[in-house]
Symmetry: C2
Subunit: 341 residues, 2 copies
DNA sequence: CCGGAGATCGGAACCGCTTCCAAACCCTCA
DNA sequence: TGAGGGTTTGGAAGCGGTTCCGATCTCCGG
């Protein structure tokens, strides 16, 4: 099959003008049934595809959106959260007629990305935050390019955003622990700099204080969402023999690390130490014991982000919309609650 | 800053014709120092960027390459291998002047991807295989688009490819085990359908037979590279009380699963069971005990793929090149070898 | 039988850039 | 001083589409 046909060649073969071909390509009215028929046959026979580049130039739309995701450290993509999020983005994008592609922006390439970002190649951007790179964000902001954030970042609230209600999630985890009667609770939090983890913290603290449970300072630790940090914190508590009776971990990965450390140090879960995580990564259900955790609808987050973005592109609406999805407690076995069914 | 300037506006402000501006943009000769100077100043002052779309149309080059990666199951991106590979791709791409973007192709969107792929938007493609989707591959093949494969797939050897020498890796793992004197060795292999895992298997089997070590059929199992599969296999062996003295796992993720199971079943590693993995994922060094494994240069794989691809794009060379990178045994503690320093 | 509305079509301008080519310019050397 | 060579320049034609608009065709009712 020779390819690389142009619209003119199609026109010629179909005995019509290029305008007519363009019209059938775009489902415009005012083309006779016979003409349409002929054009379609030529297209079919020669497997013709219009050049998206030319179309882009003419219409100033590319039907492509770009997902910009940070790469910090080797681990950034290394857990089940990301593929799920991307799937939501990719698939919903295609459904809505947009091709989505992903780029990792690391510090050393930030300005090149910025260059690329600016040149109107894309109709819009999704910034996977938890640390938007400021350069890129401010460029996008200045350009007025349609952009939506995944995750919260109040310094960029001119952008639309999608996130879950982190405080609510923390609250439910806390409630669960309190309902089960635990009173000595340890908190393994995420970095103080992430609004997300601040909210999770506030949520659980509210639950505890409502239940009249206080947490000791020595039982509050800050990790960085990595498995290693969870491991280290629990190990430290074990060494000092000040293990709490229950643990709240601000991420499943930290919970996994904690679980590992608990295991090594001989604590039985949940008999001696209960543990609740956050995220409900695919791996959570395979943990030993299966992890009770706060599920966040990751795939849906991706979908929602695309919806927001596409709406913004297509309506030229510029007022930011902030969407919050509801998290949901998933009770498994790591807290000792009896499970239903 | 108003933006969206066109080359004509720049030309006007700099008192030259659009041709001159184009020449300075592309570092072409034959523009006087003064003219160049004026043009550059206007560009600078107005923060002008040429439209890559228009440029693309005119030159038939986009300086973009696309990485197509399969999404099968939620776990496909879920380990440290991917971010490393992508970093290699992205960063080397930028170094060579190409913007690389990633798309996940799942079955339900395959034909849309194919559409997109064909329309000359990209200068080339990297297929992350271990299961190239046939539709996409054959389209690319038919179009003669520059394409390179990461991983091996002999049914597509018209494409250039990058891979490591899997047999060699398997061989070194086997040698290590034999050198340490293990004689009862279990093999936890990857799927038979993956050439990669067939090669790994052949490698270790050669090492064992050279050392005169035989492996019992009951000690050969096929997993799917997932942690769960490693876990399940070891658990089965434990239940039947036929645990080998040493384990070769065809991937680190399976090794992690195996480690977990070993732990649960009360086997000490490496005192009672030695274990060697494959890949050297970032997580391998944090395992308990740190995992002896065959390191594959993942980042370099990404780089090499881009190099091959860009060379092919720029020289219009169509003969495929098959590159094999060398794996390397990384001795840590899971096999009981004494470590240097 | 004619005028006019509506459907259909083709011509041409345009999107923003590259590139070929001929024209203008500047020097140098015979 | 004038021819000839090399620089520098601008004009114009593409690249492959979309879209506006005026021309043509059809068909109907008066």
């Amino acid at each position: 099959m020779e390819d690389d046909m142009t619209i003119d060649q199609v026109a010629e073969l179909a005995y019509v003008s290029r305008s007519v071909v363009s019209r059938v390509l775009n489902d415009h009215p005012n083309v006779s049934a016979e003409a349409r028929e002929r054009v379609l046959r030529v297209i079919e026979e020669h497997d013709y595809r219009p050049s998206s580049v030319a179309r882009s130039l003419a219409t100033d739309r590319s039907f492509e959106v770009s997902v910009l995701t940070p790469r910090r450290g080797d681990e950034s993509l290394a857990n089940g959260y990301w593929p799920l999020l991307y799937s939501g983005l990719f698939e919903r994008g295609l459904e809505r007629g947009y091709f989505v592609s992903l780029s990792m922006v690391s510090d050393q390439v930030e300005d090149e990305i910025e260059d690329r970002a600016r040149d109107a190649r894309f109709d819009g951007y999704v910034l996977v935050t938890t640390e938007v790179t400021d350069l890129v964000a401010s460029t996008l902001d200045a350009d007025g390019a349609p952009t939506v954030l995944i995750g919260q970042d109040s310094s960029w609230d001119a952008f639309s955003s999608v996130d879950i209600d982190n405080a609510q999630g923390g609250y439910e985890a806390g409630r669960h622990l309190c309902d089960l009667g635990y009173e000595e609770i340890g908190l393994i939090l995420g970095s103080r700099d992430l609004e997300e983890s601040t909210h999770r913290r506030r949520g659980i603290e509210r639950a505890l204080s409502e239940a009249g449970v206080a947490v000791a300072d020595r039982h509050v630790a800050e990790g960085d969402y990595s498995q290693e940090s969870g491991h280290a914190i629990v190990q430290a508590w074990a060494e000092r023999a000040q293990m709490p009776r229950a643990l709240f971990c601000a991420s499943d990965t930290m919970a996994m690390g904690a679980l590992l450390a608990l295991n090594e140090c001989g604590y039985k879960v949940p008999e001696e130490v209960a543990i609740v995580g956050f995220d409900d990564l695919p791996a959570a259900q395979y943990a030993i014991p299966p992890l009770t955790t706060v599920r966040q609808p990751v795939y849906e987050k991706g979908q929602a982000a695309i919806d927001l973005l596409v709406d913004q592109i297509e309506t030229a609406e510029t007022d930011p919309v902030h969407t919050e999805l509801a998290p949901e407690l998933v009770v498994r076995q790591s807290c000792g609650a009896q499970q239903e069914t």
